[in-house]
């Protein structure tokens, strides 16, 4: 098992045993900043090599996926799950968006198995963060109601995560592979170590959300496993149709399967305050994140391999 996953399990165990272990807020901030910048920079360096003509349609297609997934999740939550409108919309938004930590774990998993994937994936990661938020807001409020649009746009586009990811992309793109070298020791060489620390804290946070799962019942658990499985299928289809490699398809499936727990919670809290944040975080953090990092990623890769054999053969 990848040692970074062991850090997640250590955090989980420490959290469940109620250890005093806790990452200080400032350390959590530093670690997540470094991850976001590193992922962005790594992608940006590659962007310089790509033609815009190729990127634009892919980007648009992936945005469509980001609109589609929450639109599918919503009725399931609303009618099968019997959630209130705001709650269903908010949970749907979380699952339509993406988790940077899941991306990082998948990237590490792929790297250690020498599985290549499209290098501009971080761009798609950034792009996928946003559409689901807008869908979530519209689902909760309808189009007619007055939405504090400025606050939403601010929250969405100028949130810490997006600024660092896009900023990293631009810096990587402007610097190119040569120019970025002096920054490699901090941002690239330490990447896995930093990810390990981050996952330690993720384990602690996940443990804290197990409790609310118990209160909010079996449907959330089911949804937290079923939705990523379904979304990974959607992601695989998009990957194949867009002509991605096996690795790229698996990565897009992983992104589709992942659920946001940073950008979306903050945006929903401001724009759909009547949604109960405990529900979406319990599902995204308590079920889907561990499911994806422990079982999902290899599964999605196996699926992409199968589908590529089938499609290509």
């Amino acid at each position: 098992m990848d040692p970074v996953i062991l850090f997640f399990l250590l955090g989980l165990a420490a959290g469940l045993l109620r250890s005093e272990l806790r990452l200080p807020g400032a350390v959590y901030d530093l670690v997540s900043m470094l991850l976001l910048l590193a992922i962005g920079m790594k992608g940006g360096v590659e962007l310089a090599r790509q033609s815009l003509a190729e990127l634009l349609p892919q980007t648009l297609a992936v945005m469509t996926m980001g609109l589609l997934l929450p639109a599918i999740a919503y009725p399931v939550l609303r009618y099968a799950g019997r959630f209130k409108r705001a709650d269903a919309a908010s949970i749907a938004a979380h699952y339509g968006s993406v988790s940077v930590a899941t991306y990082a774990v998948a990237a590490a998993w792929f790297a250690s198995r020498d599985i290549a994937f499209e290098a501009h994936m971080p761009l798609l990661l950034a792009v996928l963060e946003i559409p689901a938020i807008l869908v979530g807001i519209v689902l909760a409020r309808g189009l007619s109601r007055d939405i504090r649009l400025d606050a939403v746009v601010h929250e969405v586009f100028l949130g810490k995560g997006i600024v660092l990811l896009i900023g990293g992309l631009l810096i990587g793109w402007a610097s190119g592979p040569e120019g970025i070298m002096p920054l490699a020791p901090l941002f690239f060489d330490l990447f896995k170590g930093i990810l390990a620390l981050f996952l330690l804290e993720m384990g602690l946070i996940t443990a804290a959300h197990f409790g609310s799962l118990r209160r909010h019942g079996a449907f959330l658990v089911l949804f937290g496993v079923g939705m990523p499985l379904f979304a990974s299928l959607v992601g695989t289809v998009f990957g194949v149709v867009l002509g991605f490699s096996v690795g790229g398809t698996a990565m897009l499936a992983t992104l589709a399967a992942s659920a946001s727990y940073i950008a979306v919670p903050a945006a929903m809290r401001i724009s759909v305050p009547e949604a109960n944040p405990t529900l979406s975080l319990a599902a995204a953090l308590g079920v889907t994140f561990p499911f994806n990092v422990l079982a999902g990623i290899p599964l999605y890769h196996a699926l992409a391999t199968k589908v590529h054999v089938f499609a290509g053969g």
């Binding site: 806790r22 990452l23 200080p24 807020g25 350390v27 959590y28 606050a151 804290e201 946070i205 804290a208 609310s212 940073i262 919670p265 903050a266 809290r269 401001i270 305050p273 009547e274 944040p277 405990t278 975080l281």
Partner: protein, 100 residues
């Protein structure tokens, strides 16, 4: 020393509200505010992670009675239903009443 009585309004709420809350408070006439990072527990559960979306802030506003009442009413109307929030008010003595 001439001292005068003013109201100290203290709010403990979700960190995510910091910027909107500050905007509201200033619009309602407060001349200043003080914010600190805290953790805690209330009817909406434990809020104490190293993690923005589940951490709290304490906002303190020193102001005259009318402003305090206006802010309290506004918060009660707009945030009490949906956010983890408590609010309390007490009398304090200040030296420069015109400042608050």
């Amino acid at each position: 020393m001439n001292s005068h009585t003013r109201k100290l309004l203290t709010i403990v709420t979700e960190a995510v509200l910091e910027s909107v809350l500050i905007r509201d408070i200033e619009l309602l006439g407060a001349h200043g505010y003080t914010v600190s990072d805290v953790r805690g527990k209330g009817s909406r559960g434990v809020r104490s992670s190293s993690w923005d979306s589940s951490s709290n802030i304490r906002v303190e506003v020193l102001c005259d009675e009318k402003t305090a009442a206006a802010i309290a009413a506004h918060l009660q109307a707009h945030y009490y239903a949906d956010y983890a929030m408590i609010l309390f008010i007490n009398d304090v003595a200040v030296l420069r009443p015109e400042k608050f």
